[in-house]
């Protein structure tokens, strides 16, 4: 059975969401050196805002995504300013910071559950606030693809262009790159490193909020979805090497497509049905393989030298 267009569209939307998440995770890790285990739940905060605006208040999807971005950005910023920065100032080690982000994750899951209960009681017409999906809202086809697909492509392209311009064309972008390269030197040269860190958390949270909205187009969302999806987000960032934002983009598509299209093809190859339930195992395998074989990630591997070696070997065999 060939893979249908709808399936490909869904996996593209999912991959786009992962790209946005992996960029944010990589950005906060590069700047503040904290692996944020609450990143998945930030996405679900955005998803619930989109749900509230679009499904409960029947407003436009564009407004919903603005709300999702803002909610994610505010929660991400608060996570850094209220929890992580004070801990860093107190000299908490990497382990303590990681546990703190896990604590934030648990807190967010509790808060999202409470919010889900309240939304359900405010608007009983919508039926459920757990295990919902906005799939039916974006099924109209424009130029062959669903609206949801176009929205996801548009958001990813817009985010990438905006980030590129921000990082290369503005003074702030230069400051941010400088504080990633060498925070002490940047500080000496008058860069406000604290502001750069705070804004990177703000951007990361906002992108996560957008990604959560996209996820609700292709999968069922409940308050705990983020804590499962965070495995894939880490897989994407690690596959990209956690060294550059471009790595996040490559890793996002790699993990997203191999989790969806990859498992499907594998299932058909081996003749197993229902293999899709195990797609998170693909992410785990990717994490383990990348970390043990090429810990610098795909972007860190010197592909040119490997290609040259392969060519030389082929030549040597021929002669």
């Amino acid at each position: 059975m060939p893979i249908s267009l709808v399936y490909l569209e869904n996996s593209l939307v999912y991959s786009n969401a992962l790209v946005l998440l992996a960029i944010g995770l990589t950005m906060t890790y590069l700047t503040t050196k904290i692996p944020n285990f609450a990143h998945g739940s930030l996405a679900i905060v955005g998803a619930y805002l989109l749900f509230t605006v679009v499904a409960v208040y029947k407003a436009s999807i564009a407004l919903g995504f603005i709300a999702a971005f803002l909610a994610g950005a505010i929660v991400g910023l608060l996570e850094y300013l209220v929890v992580l920065r004070p801990l860093q100032r107190r000299g908490t080690d990497a382990l303590g910071l990681m546990i703190a982000t896990l604590g934030v994750d648990i807190f967010l899951i509790g808060a999202l559950n409470i919010y889900a209960d309240i939304v359900r009681d405010m608007h009983p017409v919508t039926g459920t606030s757990r295990d919902w999906s906005l799939r039916s809202f974006v099924l109209g086809r424009v130029a062959g693809l669903t609206e949801g697909t176009w929205i996801s492509i548009g958001l990813v392209v817009a985010s990438l262009v905006a980030l590129y311009l921000l990082l290369t064309r503005t003074k702030f972008g230069v400051a941010m790159r400088a504080s990633i390269e060498n925070p002490q030197l940047a500080q000496v040269l008058g860069v406000n490193v604290d502001l750069v860190y705070a804004i990177s958390w703000l951007i990361a949270g906002g992108l996560a909020g957008l990604a959560g909205g996209l996820m609700s187009f292709v999968m069922r969302i409940n308050p705990a979805t983020g804590s499962i999806e965070v495995v894939s987000v880490f897989a994407a960032s690690i596959a990209g090497g956690l060294q550059s934002l471009l790595g996040g983009v490559v890793g996002g598509y790699l993990v997203g497509l191999s989790e969806t299209v990859g498992t499907r093809l594998l299932g058909e190859l081996l003749g197993i049905t229902g293999i899709a339930a195990y797609r998170k195992v693909v992410s785990l395998a990717l994490i383990v393989v990348v970390l043990l074989v090429a810990p610098e990630g795909i972007m860190g591997v010197n592909w040119r030298s490997i290609l040259r070696k392969l060519k030389n070997r082929a030549k040597g065999e021929r002669s």
Binding site: P35, I99, G103, V104, I228, A277, K280, L284, L291, P295
Partner: protein, 379 residues
């Protein structure tokens, strides 16, 4: 409802939670607190132990049933005799009856479950040691967390474990239930599980306390504080981590097996990150890392907090527009962050372990001519 705080202390189920969580948090303490391995995949070892306790008594018990009992069962289920199938609870009932008549068999099965859980748990630790010896702290934490999450999803979808419906597990503690029922009339099964769990917890505590006080304990702390220094003194850091992870995971797996034996029900989603990794970390941090007694104190406090929320749920429910169960993660997450900020060393901070009792050290120092103050000795 008037005395919910005190009431909870008389519930055997409360103490069962304390005992089982004590085993897991002590095992995490030796890994993370003492040796410094950031095991964010603690629920994997617990999950493995739980799977053993959920599957082994059912499958093996069914295979050991005599032919006539099997025929009776087949007549009831229409020829279908698979433990994890549609007639799971029926089969578990039949097994319970059979075990009750043959307490020796149930005892043997119970011991087999514990031994297998410990073995498989050690195997999990052995696997985890491979990345643990090669990866940096953050990457290791992510890898172990991802491994545990992926395993949970696999277990959740496995038809051999009842899939998304879970399993009813036959009771392998019937032999102890029979004895306990002579003394008490209610909560018989919980109390008999509690007796076993407390005994295991005491043994685990004594063992880990001995390890901590022995030269081995100082080696573990040395690996945590400075790996390079330990290596330069000829210590095999990789091997130390391997041993620690194997022991820690084996203990956690035994706790998982005891938990299933107590609740007699299997559901993969119960072995999630919140319940068996985050909670356990919070207990250890609250009580004091690298301090076994502190870890026990932290375990007691957090189980008490959670039970109190559970008990007072119905009391506050009418005043809230949401299910008060969600206050549990909310309070817990906030509590952990507050502890990290206000008292990162925990209720009972780590103690310096001297290689000899303090008095002997001072005598030795005296005979060497050094001043007999504590400071001079520590150096």
């Amino acid at each position: 409802m008037a005395v919910p705080v005190i009431g909870v202390l008389f519930e055997p189920s409360f103490w069962l939670w304390v005992a089982i969580y004590a085993i897991v948090s002590l095992s995490l303490n030796i890994e993370a607190g003492v040796t410094g391995i950031p095991n964010f995949g603690k629920h994997l070892a617990v999950l493995v132990g739980a799977i053993v306790a959920a599957a082994l008594p059912g499958y093996l018990g069914l295979a050991l049933l005599p032919a006539d009992v099997k025929q009776q069962l087949e007549a009831m289920t229409g020829g279908q005799l698979s433990y994890a199938g549609d007639y799971n609870s029926l089969i578990a009932d039949a097994l319970n009856k059979y075990f009750a008549q043959h307490p020796g068999l149930s005892l043997a099965l119970f011991l087999l479950v514990l031994a297998t859980a410990a073995l498989l748990g050690a195997a999990v630790g052995w696997l985890a040691a491979y990345p643990a010896a090669r990866l940096r702290e953050e990457y290791l934490a992510i890898t172990l967390l991802a491994a545990a999450e992926a395993s949970m999803i696999v277990a959740y979808n496995a038809p051999q474990l009842g899939g998304t419906l879970g399993l009813t597990v036959p009771n392998t503690l019937v032999w102890l239930d029979n004895i306990v029922s002579r003394f008490v009339s209610t909560n018989v099964h919980i109390i008999s599980t509690l007796i076993v769990a407390i005994m295991v917890a005491i043994v685990v505590f004594a063992y880990l306390e001995l390890v901590l006080r022995s030269p081995m304990g100082r080696l573990l702390k040395g690996v945590r504080d400075n790996e390079v220094a330990a290596e330069s003194l000829g210590k095999d850091v990789t091997k130390v981590k391997l041993k620690t992870l194997m022991i820690g995971s084996a203990l956690a797996a035994v706790a998982g097996a005891l938990f299933i034996t107590g609740t007699l029900g299997w559901m993969a989603t119960s072995y999630n990150r919140v319940s068996w990794t985050f909670w356990v970390w919070a207990m250890m941090i609250l009580g004091g890392m690298a301090n076994n007694i502190g870890t026990l104190v932290g375990t007691f406090i957090l189980v008490l907090v959670r039970q109190m929320i559970t008990y007072n749920k119905t009391l506050i429910a009418p005043y809230l527009p949401f299910d008060p169960a969600w206050l549990d993660p909310l309070i817990l997450g906030a509590l952990l962050v507050i502890v990290l900020m206000v008292r990162p060393q925990g209720v009972l901070p780590e103690k310096t372990m001297y290689p000899l009792p303090r008095q002997k050290l001072e005598e030795k120092a005296k005979s060497l001519g050094a001043p007999a103050s504590g400071k001079g000795v520590a150096r």
